[in-house]
């Protein structure tokens, strides 16, 4: 039976019918309808169910405070759960009722959510398009402000000129310094706005208050102003035989509007008469318990409240951030005075509903108080009142008032519980916007990446970088590919794209003194042209990063960092320079991507470099280990450093990034007769582990000192200070039972992370003495090897430990961590 009437209907266009589906049935509505108004127009009074008690429920409001009428939208967009009162009706809309809880489709059926993101700056943002909001927006525009006005409804009447007006846009949250996130949704568009406003005006209006009486959740019970809205905006009469229960004058005005729509008002009930008695015999019971300013956003920013006896509710106390202002009925302006009536007295409160979406009644509040709770916040957590997705818009103030009343305290003793963003549910896909899939986090590629792809390299993620892990040939799996690459470097020559290493140019009269403070060893004694390996510690004395420093001049260094810590190290340099030592004359510049780094390693590395062609004298006597030379190679200006992470003779060639790929190809081609082999990070890891070189972040975990690694030599012992020095003298750093780096010779390959114990059998749990940090099948040694951190490890060489694992126990002998060429004879080739 249609409840559409000729009266009212200012928001609908009766010449534009639309069809939609609800709960499997097809219906008609008009352009301008909400889903809720169209359902009521089609006579659907009880189309919903309560989530816990399975009670029939109907549309109770005409706005965002709706506690009953929740739907899933599946066409033409997807929304897991939304109030029907806030859904703009569009042709072909498909909706199904949801009992307060959304449902995620199965992974395969997951609809695509494509939310655009947009940052915008304005001088004034107004939230709420009612009279007060429009006035505030118009005044700000007249002042010359850039003004944005958002309203969550699909229509803003008489929008002011000179203002960016966004209907269908919900302010989800207000954050520090006027940052507001707002969600715009229509049938054709979804957009998340990031608004930075100099001033935010909350014109969020007021919401009519509910009253707790027996059966107040039954379909046909509706807020009085909502019924008036359905008549005036949508031409829908929600009932014909109507009773009104009101504590204030606005209820009578709403009743007049409903009467103008053609209804008979058969009862007018005031405080002192039980409205539940009037439910039988009418098809619509209007309730007006007064008005609550809508202060969700105000309160989420820390805005305070004060109780108004006239309104029998809370108004903003204007103690909030200076850029945030509340106007209009949200500030209590123009709201009708109301009697303070929350609760219809009864013997049995089990059907006096307070939070309809949580199915919680006055009896539930009473039970929480009987259990000894006295705080509204505790009652909220005991009953879940206010925690459903309607955020307790109809129940928050009511629950607080009932707590006050049942405790016998004054009505102003406790206000409603706190409010937090987001104001309505929002999907993670919307928050992510375009930043998902491959764009979730940037993927960084080196200049040589196209060559790696041509060679079908298998990549691994190192921080944000894609680095070749290995280069399979002829369908090789990882193990044979890595073994082949390792042997090539040990026997001939290999080449690695090391461009991802962080590089920082450090220059200034105090550069050397500065680096002395940042590293545990001395950089100021390094001769120009030389290189020194160094450790950086945290303030806690634990190893934070490692790298080398090249001295380019008396006051000029180029330092490297690990791939993953490049930004952290530069930030740390800048932080200390700017906050602690502003007097030091030092400038730091990231040059990570200025240089492509081509590392050639192996006994034939010198032969390869010579074949590429260079004016640099490569003889070991004139170009020794841990020095660098500037010169030309294949016609390109280069800086060549003799450092080694493999233990073999090694040259790292730095070249202008724009020519990096050209140099790489020149090395590959000139090195072909020497059997040069491109290798990836996996072979690099194996080779460095054979030499016992640690990787910060793999063999260390933020709890490891240099001495734990057997590298006490890298920490200078004089009185000069460096970051972390003081912490190295703490009792904990000096314990004699600390875990220390050791090598392991296991009887089969250990998994990294395996825990090590002293006995192969015995009661569980048994004490753990260490863990495996690195583990590889060494092709060079033809056996599995591992690095581990083991309690008192350095004094236990020769002992046996066990790794009990689901597939059986692995036995491992503790050995020094250098497995290969312990005397370092191979580094000069």
């Amino acid at each position: 039976m249609s409840r559409r009437v000729d009266a009212g209907g200012s928001w609908i266009d009766r010449s534009k019918p639309l069809t939609f589906r609800f709960d499997g049935e097809e219906y008609e509505g008009f352009e301008g309808d909400t889903l809720a108004s169209a359902l009521l127009a089609n006579g659907i009074i009880a189309g919903f169910t309560s989530p816990l008690l399975d009670r029939p429920r109907g549309v109770m409001t005409a706005g965002p405070e709706e506690p009953n009428a929740f739907v899933e939208i599946s066409e033409p967009w997807f929304d897991a759960i939304v109030a029907a009162t806030m859904v703009e009706l569009v042709d072909g809309l498909v909706a199904d009722p949801r009992a307060g809880v959304g449902r995620l489709p199965d992974a395969g059926e997951m609809p695509s959510v494509d939310a655009a993101h947009r940052h915008v700056h304005v001088e004034t943002l107004v939230v709420g398009g009612g009279l007060a909001g429009r006035r505030a927006a118009a005044a700000a525009a007249k002042r010359g402000d850039r003004v944005m006005l958002v309203d969550e409804r699909h229509r803003i009447d008489r929008p002011p000129d000179g203002v960016t007006v966004l209907p269908r846009t919900t302010a989800l949250g207000v954050y520090d310094d006027g940052y507001v996130v707002a969600h715009e949704r229509s049938a054709t568009l979804e957009r998340l706005w990031h608004v930075r406003a100099t001033r935010v005006v909350l014109a969020t209006g007021a919401q009519e208050r509910f009253v707790a009486f027996a059966g107040n959740d039954r379909p046909g019970v509706m807020l009085a102003s909502a019924a008036a809205t359905y008549v005036e905006r949508f031409g829908v009469l929600p009932g014909h035989r109507v009773a009104i229960f009101t504590t204030n004058d606005s209820g009578l005005e709403s009743a007049d509007a409903v009467r103008a729509g053609g209804a008979d008002i058969v009862h007018t009930i005031g405080v002192g008469e039980d409205p539940s008695a009037a439910i039988e015999g009418v098809d619509l019971l209007l309730v007006s318990g007064g008005w609550n300013p809508n202060l969700t956003l105000w309160r989420s920013m820390g805005g305070g409240l004060r109780y108004s006896r006239r309104l029998a509710t809370y108004r903003p106390d204007n103690v909030g951030p200076p850029w945030l202002e509340v106007v209009g009925s949200a500030d209590g302006d123009g709201l009708p005075g109301s009697q303070a009536h929350w609760l219809e007295p009864a013997d049995d409160y089990s059907e006096h509903f307070v939070d309809l979406q949580r199915d919680q009644t006055v009896a539930d509040i009473a039970q929480a108080l009987d259990a000894g709770l006295v705080s509204v916040e505790h009652v909220k957590r005991a009953t879940y009142i206010g925690t459903a997705i309607d955020q307790g818009r109809t129940s928050g103030v009511l629950a607080a008032a009932i707590v006050n009343q049942l405790l016998g305290t004054g009505p102003d003793a406790q206000g409603p519980s706190g409010a937090r963003p987001p104001t309505v549910p929002i999907s993670y896909a919307t928050i992510a916007g375009p930043d998902r899939g491959d764009l979730l986090d940037p993927i960084r590629r080196t200049r040589i990446h196209p060559w790696h792809e041509e060679q079908d390299a298998v990549f691994e993620d190192v921080g944000q970088w894609k680095r070749p892990r290995y280069f399979p040939r002829d369908g090789e799996d990882m193990d044979p590919a890595v073994a082949r690459e390792c042997l090539a470097i040990r026997n001939d020559a290999g080449v690695l794209d090391a461009s991802t290493l962080g590089k920082i140019d450090v220059v200034g009269p105090d550069a050397a003194a500065f680096l002395d403070r940042m590293y545990t060893n001395r950089m100021s004694t390094l001769p120009v042209g030389s290189i020194r390996y160094g450790f950086m510690l945290g303030l806690d004395g634990m190893v934070a990063d490692d790298g080398v420093a090249m001295r380019l001049g008396d006051d000029h260094f180029l330092v490297t960092t690990t791939t993953g810590n490049a930004a952290m190290v530069l930030d740390r340099f800048e932080e200390w320079l700017q906050t602690e030592w502003p007097g030091l004359r030092v400038y730091c510049t990231s040059v990570t991507e200025q240089w492509t780094d081509v590392a050639v390693a192996g006994p034939k590395a010198r032969e390869v470099i010579a074949a590429v062609g260079t004016d640099i004298d490569l003889a070991a006597e004139t170009f020794p280990f841990m020095t660098f030379r500037d010169g030309e190679m294949a016609g390109m200006p280069v800086r060549v450093a003799r450092v080694s992470f493999t233990g073999e003779l090694s040259y790292e060639i730095l070249v202008d990034g724009r020519r990096g790929l050209e140099l790489w190809k020149a090395v590959m081609s000139a090195g072909a007769p020497s059997g040069i082999t491109a290798y990836g990070t996996e072979a690099m890891h194996v080779l460095r582990a054979e030499k016992g070189f640690v990787i910060v972040g793999q063999d260390t975990d933020g709890t490891v000192t240099p001495d734990d690694l057997g590298m006490g030599w890298i920490v200078r012992k004089d009185d000069s200070d460096f970051i972390g020095r003081r912490s190295l003298r703490r009792a904990d750093a000096l314990r004699d039972d600390r875990k220390q780096l050791v090598g392991l010779l296991p009887n089969e390959l250990l998994p990294e992370g395996a825990q090590l114990v002293e006995e192969d059998t015995g009661p569980i749990p048994m004490p753990m003495f260490g863990h495996v940090t690195s583990s590889y099948a060494s092709r060079t040694l033809d056996r599995p090897i591992a690095l581990a951190m083991v309690e008192r490890g350095r004094s236990r060489h020769g002992e046996t430990l066990y790794a009990p694992l689901p597939g059986g126990t692995i036995t491992a002998e503790i050995v020094p961590p250098v497995f290969y060429d312990p005397d370092g004879t191979r580094r000069d080739g």
């Binding site: 494509d114 947009r118 140019d505 220059v507 200025q594 202008d656 724009r658």
Partner: protein
């Protein structure tokens, strides 16, 4: 839903780039106001910070710019570093709305006007923006982020 960003909209620029750090009192060029660009001998000088500037010249001029600056600042604490390969530059046409999909700066044409520059983020990539004229925004981005930058622009363009 718009198309991918077109080649006309996105042009890679070959440039010389020299980073300069020094006491502002000893600069050989007129010090730009914060977040603006001045010119020096036909080169752009971008303000990056209170003691940090980026001098941008035509391709292959990095050697001469570096020498001129080193000579001018000799004897003063300073840093002059060739960073021509450290970032690549894209000249984007009519793309402030696209950039506003992933950049929190105020890019409203009434406030973000030709001659302004700023360091910021676009999505997850560090960028330096320089508004060349009414239509063209020059975006400096690390080469390793270039593919990401273009893909992120395209994603924004498809959603806008």
């Amino acid at each position: 839903m718009g198309p991918d960003v077109t080649a006309e909209q996105l042009v890679a620029a070959e440039l010389a780039q020299i980073g300069v750090r020094a006491d502002p009192a000893v600069l050989p060029f007129e010090q730009p106001q914060p977040n603006t660009v001045t010119t020096w001998k036909g080169r752009d000088v971008l303000w990056l910070g209170p003691d940090e500037w980026l001098v941008v010249g035509e391709a292959d001029s990095e050697g001469s710019i570096e020498r001129e600056l080193q000579d001018a600042l000799a004897g003063q604490p300073h840093s002059v570093v060739d960073v021509s390969a450290n970032r690549i530059a894209f000249d984007l046409a009519d793309s402030l709305d696209l950039l506003a999909s992933g950049c929190g700066l105020d890019l409203d044409p009434s406030r973000w006007v030709p001659g302004m520059c700023a360091q910021s983020l676009f999505g997850g990539a560090q960028v330096i923006l320089h508004q060349l004229d009414e239509r063209t925004t020059r975006v400096f981005v690390r080469p390793s982020f270039a593919d990401y930058f273009i893909d992120r622009l395209g994603a924004a363009n498809r959603l806008i």
